[in-house]
Symmetry: C2
Subunit: 95 residues, 2 copies
DNA sequence: ATTGCTGTCGATTGACACCGTACAAACAGA
DNA sequence: TCTGTTTGTACGGTGTCAATCGACAGCAAT
């Protein structure tokens, strides 16, 4: 299920944006207007999609900033599910 | 329109969580398990909803982390619309 | 070997959430 | 008035993370 194990947005950039167009990381970074390392960290899933990067990706490859950031949010949420048991609060409203 | 000018998530906490229950910022922070300043900054719209805070809010007041973070994302996106014109990229795919 | 392009590591900077402490102002009760 | 609570706010410090720059190794072409 996509809901349980979302793919890292950087993998989308790598597989669905750069690869089909035969773009290298360096060339992709140039088109996006960011440093080589910035895009490299993203496609290697070491960095997240920032707001600014979301605008760049949507402008260069299509889609919308909302979509890119939504993917990042889904990924972050799935990766932080362990907090569900860690965090303790005093329940106030109905739960 | 809610899409153009989303309300800050901190205002939701203030108006729809604390106020209806008659909870002070101090008491709310205690129940949430965070410092008083942390909640104060949030309800006064000076801080954003972090992943951890999203879990705390959903546990204490209901709703889901997705909903809280989605509100924050909508707010951040609306507040960063100016990047639409600022950012320059070399368009690659159809746009 | 030299040149040029590429991917990646290391260190730094800047932004931000969070904490503890502390101070001043507002307010309720004794 | 004195006391206690709440609140906003400011300062100092920690930790995380995106972005950036400098430097290095791999590799192809000349």
């Amino acid at each position: 299920m996509a809901m349980k194990n979302p793919v890292h947005p950087g993998a989308i950039v790598r597989e669905d944006c750069l690869k089909p167009l035969g773009l290298s990381v360096t060339e992709g970074a140039r088109r996006l207007g960011v440093g080589r390392q910035t895009l490299s960290n993203l496609v290697n899933e070491r960095a997240s999609i920032s707001i600014e990067m979301a605008y760049r990706l949507s402008k260069a490859f299509g889609s919308t900033p909302e979509t890119w950031l939504g993917m990042q949010l889904a990924f972050d949420l799935a990766r932080s599910r362990h907090l569900e048991r860690t965090i303790e609060v005093a329940r106030i409203a109905a739960g």
